[in-house]
């Protein structure tokens, strides 16, 4: 979005898709969204220390509220994994993801964020650089989270069902080997096995698609919300952005929920073997009937 400033007096703040660097530690650029992420981590640490120090056997009001949230979140996770033991293994990661993304999204809605900043000279004209920016409005944050989740789900799969089975999900050597062993029983195997092999290769591309979709969904929603609020504020600053602020609060919550829900789903799928999965679904079908 290049705007030609004919006269340099009006300084237009264009929200850039890339977070602007504020200062450098050595050769490491600290961007404004990174400052927000640190702030979110500080808030989480303070909250955790406060809750841990005040924990009692008979819960007080605050502890009771958090325990209610915990019950609700555990039951939601149970609906995905269908196994309490698996839920207890995956839940800490999914819940931390949820809290981190939620606090980052909501911190981006404070009036301080996006408006406090300084002027810098860039390529001839002055550019306004805000000091704070929503942590998840930076593609680096969301990309890092999604890469970590996808790689983590594969590592979880290796731990749960073993490296050979996980490897066979992508490079399906077992199917190719089946050509020789099952040839006498079922002639179809000659055609089905190469197709199964290529489906496995497509799964590999699917993993990259997972990374892209996770990161872009979160980044796009938060960034588009920022731009929307800035545009509404530019049209008429009083009362007009209010419904959009409520929308952004809601969207921040939903996107955090979806990210952690999808992470749970990926972890669950990675820990399930194809053969066992079919047996389980058959059992469930019989149980419901």
């Amino acid at each position: 979005m290049a705007i030609n400033n004919i006269n340099e007096q009006p300084i237009i703040h264009e929200t850039t898709i890339y977070a602007e660097p504020i200062f450098n530690i050595g050769s490491f650029q600290v961007t404004n969204s990174l400052i927000n992420s640190w702030f979110a981590v500080l808030i989480i640490i303070a909250l955790c220390i406060f809750l841990r120090l005040n924990i009692k056997k008979i819960p007080g009001k605050i502890q009771h509220i958090f325990e209610m949230f915990l019950e609700g979140a555990l039951s939601l996770c149970d609906q995905v994994t269908n196994d309490r033991k698996m839920t207890l293994k995956i839940f800490p990661l999914a819940a931390s993801l949820f809290i981190f993304i939620l606090i980052n999204n909501w911190l981006g809605l404070l009036p301080v964020v996006g408006s406090m900043g300084f002027l810098a000279k860039e390529a001839g004209h002055s550019v306004f650089i805000p000091i704070f920016r929503a942590g998840t409005a930076d593609i680096n944050t969301t990309l890092a989270l999604s890469i970590a989740i996808v790689i983590g789900s594969n590592i979880f799969g290796i731990i749960a069902i073993g490296a050979w089975k996980t490897f066979n999900k992508y490079v399906n050597i077992k199917a190719l080997g089946g050509i020789f062993t099952k040839f006498r029983e079922d002639k179809n195997v000659l055609i089905v096995a190469p197709i199964t092999f290529f489906v496995g290769i497509l799964e590999l591309i699917g993993e990259i698609a997972k990374v892209a979709s996770l990161s872009f969904r979160l980044f796009g929603n938060v960034f588009a919300g920022e731009v929307l609020l800035a545009s509404m504020g530019a049209i008429f600053l009083y009362l007009l952005p209010t419904p959009f602020l409520f929308l952004e609060v809601f969207i921040g919550l939903i996107q955090a929920l979806i990210f952690s829900l999808l992470a749970t789903v990926y972890f669950t799928i990675a820990s399930q073997d194809h053969g066992e999965h079919e047996e389980e679904s058959h059992e469930k079908g019989l149980a419901h009937a």
């Binding site: 929603n221 588009a224 939903i254």
Partner: protein, 79 residues
């Protein structure tokens, strides 16, 4: 030289940006409308199940909307 002069005046980048978000919005609008419609049918058949239908509907709508957001990100990144 003419090409550079013409390119400076007539640039198709805004058309690209408009098409990127416009076409993705069509798909997302149809998707979310269908999801909402089916959810309304389900609630109409069984009003007591409103709470159970609401949360999955919201989650499915967020997935459908995310595809339009992909288009929006591309629209923002076109110079």
């Amino acid at each position: 030289m003419e090409k550079e002069v013409v390119d400076a005046v007539v640039s198709f980048a805004p058309v690209g940006k408009g098409l990127a978000i416009g076409l993705s919005a069509v798909g997302a609008g149809i998707g979310i409308g269908l999801i909402g419609g089916r959810a309304m049918e389900a609630i109409g058949r069984n009003p007591e199940a409103t709470g159970k239908v609401l949360v999955p509907m919201l989650i499915a709508s967020a997935f459908a909307e995310a595809v339009a957001i992909y288009g929006l990100v591309i629209a923002f990144s076109i110079k």
